[in-house]
């Protein structure tokens, strides 16, 4: 057999990194699964229908925004309100993108397009966790990131489809209490970080503001809570860092 690729060893390394990224995302795939299932089931039963459910998961690919949009659409909200709310709820991704920006600046645009489309809470958390202490050292981090993103995308689309089909067959599926998986996932990610006193203060602030501002329209309470939490973190960093 002749080798077709000029650098087979490189492709093996790419595939290995992508697989590594997908593997590190497995707990989050499990966490997202019930939400894909529930979203599919609820959306199929709504005016969106099976086609709308699949289109939203395939094109928007943002779980919390999709749930909020679904409840708004079912409540008869205007289209522009749904789009504006999506924008607000997803603004946090701007901060994820800023945090990963240095890693993608040297990549061609087609890579940046792909990685931006696949940028979710879960993939950000996975990538951030791995490269936290590495600086720019990891040359193949885009393959790792793409592996995590592709796994999340296929997982989300697959569970949406399964939920849409099951939801048509048995509407009782939406009352199983699976919605708790989101909370279990978030608590599991955050709790170990709270050993740091600054992170604990950030979390307490964000929680207090989220509770106090939960009545604000367009989910602005979430954004206010996030900004307040980060502000407290910055203030504490400045205090402990002396002049810096």
């Amino acid at each position: 057999m002749n080798t077709v690729s000029p650098r087979p060893a490189a492709w093996t390394a790419f595939a290995r990194e992508a697989l590594h990224g997908a593997r590190d995302t497995v707990p989050l795939l499990l966490g997202a699964a019930p939400f894909g299932l529930i979203f599919g089931a609820l959306a199929a039963a709504s005016p969106l229908g099976v086609g709308g459910a699949l289109a939203m998961s395939a094109l928007v690919f943002a779980g919390s925004a999709q749930f909020i949009a679904l409840s708004l659409l079912s409540g008869g909200a205007a289209g522009w309100v749904v789009v504006l709310t999506t924008w607000v709820v997803n603004l946090r991704h701007l901060l994820y993108a800023a945090s990963l920006q240095r890693g993608v600046a040297r990549l061609p645009q087609r890579w940046r397009l792909l990685l931006a489309f696949w940028l979710t809470d879960e993939t950000y958390a996975t990538v951030y966790h791995r490269y936290q202490h590495d600086g720019d050292g990891a040359a193949l981090r885009h393959w790792y990131t793409a592996g995590s993103g592709a796994a999340m995308y296929v997982n989300w689309l697959g569970w949406t489809a399964a939920g849409a089909l099951l939801g048509q067959a048995s509407p009782a599926l939406t009352h199983l209490g699976l919605e708790f998986a989101l909370v279990a996932t978030f608590v599991g990610i955050v709790a170990p970080l709270l050993r740091q006193r600054t992170s604990l203060a950030v979390a307490l602030t964000a929680a207090a503001v989220a509770l106090a501002a939960r009545g604000l329209p367009y989910k602005l309470g979430l954004l206010a809570a996030a900004l307040a939490g980060v502000a407290v973190g910055v203030w504490l960093d400045a205090r402990s860092g002396g002049g810096r």
């Binding site: 289209g79 993108a97 800023a98 920006q101 940046r112 708790f180 608590v187 599991g188």
Partner: protein
């Protein structure tokens, strides 16, 4: 909502979501946040995830406080937190928290 209206909403959601995710990547190094901002970004995951989860746990129906030990959301969240701290394994935290939640809600029939 008509088919076209629905397509417009989904298209609009897709456009704003992708726009947020792509704008900084597209600019690459040309627009960079100051080191101070970069440092601030470290606090984003804790702030956002906490802000989403805590109201779901303490006000399960979105309206009324439920701070008692019978609250399945609170019991499950505490279970997840304890397991996450004890095992440092995310999967164990998710599975254990789910088990506590389901036991409270369907085994013991608390609400």
């Amino acid at each position: 909502m008509s088919g076209w209206g629905e397509a417009a909403v989904i298209g609009g959601m897709a456009a704003v979501t992708f726009g947020i995710r792509y704008v900084l990547f597209a600019l690459g190094g040309r627009l960079q946040f100051a080191p101070r901002v970069q440092q601030a970004l470290r606090h984003v995951p804790v702030a956002v995830l906490t802000a989403i989860a805590v109201p779901m746990v303490l006000l399960p129906d979105g309206q009324h406080w439920n701070l008692g030990w019978r609250n399945p959301w609170l019991a499950g969240a505490l279970g997840s937190a304890v397991l996450a701290l004890a095992t440092r394994r995310l999967l164990a935290a998710i599975a254990g928290g789910m088990a506590v939640y389901l036991l409270w809600r369907f085994g013991l029939r608390f609400t």
